[in-house]
């Protein structure tokens, strides 16, 4: 039966104060939000708890939710955000959808018009429970104060347990004003909900047999490894059986970049070998990943020669995109350990060498020119990332936005530490990076946090510079400015006869904007200025904008075009 972690003594209070008490019971010490009419009672209650809960006032609700996501991704804890009804709640939706597709634990609390006004088109009324239903793991509307503790406790449990996700709790204004006798029971059980399937030893045995017999085994590491905190278990697993390992965009930093078994990134702009050799392995072992279309390319021509083992916490992912010969359900922290016990110690030097050979070819054809462009060539994104990686010793948390700079940062930053990659993977939300970096820095104050952003995405949430300034958040902003919506332009060049339909940006002076927010800023246009500028950037005390003007029409390669097979990965 459900157990009580904390049992508070009963006290009469308002629903609004109960919301704050619930947050304290859940050990929430940071939240992100934006006040407004229907959430005012909760804000009023928060005023008395300014010491206990650090509320970060963002500049837009989308900023608040992305910050909560960044916080959750950097810490593994539940991110919390607070917004008012109507537009406030609606502005959260993009971030909620992003958190849903990237399995990020977030609890959103929204104010709602008083219950007698529901359905009357009242001022700032919107059906946020209806709107958010397809993009939340769970949501609920509360119309009476006494429902608040149980609902919030359930919300936190659902957000963080099993495959994490966003939860929304909508509270009418009268429920915030209403009185209740407060007591809190931490929820650990919902009878209809099985967060984590129990490992099945039969499945594990079959998986171990396949891996032990494999000549060319290949591991795909997804974010599930990070969400499960299975760093050691994963490393032991691949090291014992000598398994070449590629990571998905969200699996990045699950192993150090320089780990000898790490062969690089999967996906549309992933590595040459990681894509090509998917169709040459004999056993494919997917761990905590979901075979996104950007990873698989044409599913009909994806790893058809291989036996597929899929370690996954969410049963709905099994056979969703790629059929699993052996599904291994459960929390991979546990299943990896059980599986490793049954593995024979192996090495696969010839097979690993295939990846190295592919890497050499990729280095020659792509990487060299990107990281070390010759002489008078325009600055490339890759060389900027190379310097950032070097000057930060691969120790930073890299928060990326969406587009070319994202792919380049993730391809070339050399992650030395666990949990160092925060990006919008599944949804591809431009404007994600700046607010997510704020949340990450607040969640991990001892770490260097670098937001890598393009000129397009920067302007989608540029207002959050105000939050950076007001809340003194030490984020380093690397703006890779190519005066284009670069990724779309690249596609227009390759697939739409260079018809650059509305992708050229006439940009403002970002330096002036940053300085307007009292953030130090610097702009680099020449190669010889770059190294010193990056040095100043990473060592600056406080937030800093480094803008680098990079080649306008540079492309990101390798590339698996849409609808192509992974073995058709192009180097140019």
């Amino acid at each position: 039966m459900s157990k009580t972690a904390t049992e508070s003594k009963t006290r009469t209070m308002t629903g609004a104060e109960a919301v704050v008490q619930c947050l304290l019971e859940e050990q929430v010490d940071v939240m992100f939000g934006y006040p407004g009419g229907a959430i005012m009672p909760v804000y009023d209650a928060l005023y008395d708890y300014r010491e206990e809960i650090h509320h970060v006032l963002c500049r837009h609700e989308q900023g608040a939710i992305h910050a909560a996501q960044g916080y959750a991704r950097a810490t593994g804890k539940v991110g919390v955000c607070l917004a008012t009804s109507g537009p406030g709640a609606a502005n959260l939706i993009t971030g909620i959808a992003d958190a849903q597709i990237d399995s990020t634990p977030v609890v959103c609390i929204t104010g709602q018009v008083a219950s007698h006004l529901l359905g009357t088109d009242a001022f700032q009324e919107t059906d946020v429970v209806g709107i958010s239903m397809p993009v939340t793991k769970w949501n609920i509307q509360i119309t009476s104060a006494h429902e608040i503790p149980a609902a919030l406790s359930k919300a936190f449990f659902i957000a963080r347990s099993g495959r994490p996700g966003p939860v929304l709790v909508d509270i009418t204004k009268d429920a915030q004003f209403g009185k209740l006798d407060f007591s809190y029971q931490r929820c650990e059980l919902v009878r209809s909900y099985v967060p984590t399937p129990q490992p099945n030893m039969e499945e594990i045995k079959r998986a171990a047999e396949l891996i032990n017999q494999a000549k060319r085994p290949y591991v795909l590491m997804g974010q599930g490894v990070i969400l499960a905190e299975a760093e050691d278990e994963f490393r032991n697993f691949v090291e014992k059986a000598g398994l070449p390992t590629a990571w998905t965009i969200l699996g990045l930093s699950g192993l150090p970049t320089d780990h000898p078994l790490n062969v690089g990134m999967l996906g549309m702009h992933g590595g040459y070998g990681p894509n090509l050799l998917t169709n040459e392995c004999d056993v494919l072992i997917a761990v905590g990943m979901r075979f996104d279309d950007r990873v698989t390319g044409d599913v009909k021509r994806y790893a058809t020669q291989a036996k597929v083992i899929h370690l996954e916490i969410d049963p709905a992912e099994i056979n969703k995109n790629i059929k699993a010969d052996v599904p291994v359900l459960g929390d991979c922290k546990e299943t990896l350990k059980l599986l490793t016990e049954q593995l024979e110690a192996r090495e696969h030097p010839e097979w690993l060498q295939r990846f190295r050979d592919c890497q050499e070819e990729e280095d020659r054809e792509v990487v060299q020119g990107e990281l070390y462009p010759e002489g008078d060539k325009v600055l490339s994104m890759g060389e900027v990332i190379r310097w950032v990686s070097e000057k930060s010793n691969g120790e930073a948390i890299i928060v990326t936005d969406v587009g070319q700079h994202q792919m380049v940062a993730q391809r070339y930053y050399r992650y030395a530490r666990w949990r160092s990659n925060i990006t919008s993977g599944g949804l591809g939300t431009m404007g994600f990076a700046l607010p997510a970096a704020m949340g990450a820095k607040i969640g991990a104050p001892d770490r260097q946090v670098i937001a890598v952003i393009g000129d397009g995405g920067f302007q989608m949430t540029i207002q959050e510079l105000g939050t950076v300034f007001q809340s003194k958040i030490d984020v380093k902003i690397l703006l890779l400015n190519n005066e284009f919506l670069g990724m779309v332009r690249q596609w227009q060049e390759l697939f739409f006869d260079k018809r650059y339909s509305f992708t050229e940006m006439v940009n403002p002076d970002f330096q002036t904007i940053a300085r307007g927010y009292h953030i130090e800023a610097e702009k680099v246009t020449k190669r010889e200025e770059l190294e010193a500028a990056v040095e100043r950037f990473v060592n600056h005390d406080g937030s800093y904008l480094l803008e680098v003007l990079v080649g306008k029409e540079n492309n990101v390669f390798p590339m698996v075009p849409t609808g192509a097979s992974v073995s058709e990965v192009r180097l140019k």
């Binding site: 039966m1 459900s2 157990k3 429970v129 209806g130 239903m133 397809p134 793991k137 769970w138 949501n139 509307q141 659902i158 347990s161 099993g162 650990e188 059980l189 919902v190 009878r191 209809s192 909900y193 099985v194 967060p195 984590t196 399937p197 129990q198 969410d314 049963p315 709905a316 099994i318 056979n319 969703k320």
Partner: protein
């Protein structure tokens, strides 16, 4: 290959569940042919019966997504040969034309229908059966100036399924196993 499937969804009895369930069909562009909702044999648990035509692969994924919802206890799908099903139809016909045609008795008897209400100006006939059967009666009543017609969604009892109470106990047991010890 497209086939007809009967999807049964057992959920907690909560506001908004119908929406959460139907969204999963909408999102995959699968039309709901009929839907019924009622209490199940377990208190507090509602049962939705949803008829769809799609491929087996699609229905498996649908059920996977339904099952994944926090407040869904369990979802299943069955083919038509695995279930016993019934629909109910009501027909409103002008009393005068029925009497004039002197066909009423034959019609009612041959269809196993019954008259549930006779008013001077209209008569209401009820028939339960499969869709084809209620449709047949619809066709035959049409010439008599059918005033109104309504057919329910399909209700389904599955032949081979184990008792839902048992399934529910298994789900609860699995949920309990996830509670950390101590």
């Amino acid at each position: 290959m497209q086939e007809q499937f009967n999807v049964s969804v057992f959920t907690e009895d909560q506001i908004g569940m119908l929406n959460r369930v139907s969204i999963i069909f909408n999102r995959r562009h699968i039309n709901i042919e009929s839907i019924t909702a009622s209490a199940s044999e377990v208190e507090g648990v509602h049962r939705y019966t949803i008829v769809v035509s799609c491929t087996e692969d699609q229905v498996k994924k649908l059920v996977g997504q339904l099952d994944k919802q926090v407040d869904v206890v369990k979802a299943f799908f069955h083919r038509n040969d695995q279930i016993v099903q019934q629909e109910i139809a009501l027909y409103k016909v002008p009393t005068a034309t029925l009497v004039e045609a002197k066909m009423v008795e034959t019609l009612i008897r041959s269809h196993g229908a019954r008259i549930i209400c006779i008013e001077p100006d209209f008569t209401i006939i009820e028939k339960t059966g499969h869709k084809e059967e209620t449709q047949q009666l619809f066709q035959e009543l049409k010439p008599y100036g059918l005033l109104e017609f309504v057919r329910s969604g399909r209700v389904v009892i599955t032949k081979p399924m184990k008792e839902f109470r048992e399934v529910m106990e298994e789900v609860e047991e699995a949920a309990r196993k996830c509670v950390p010890a101590g």
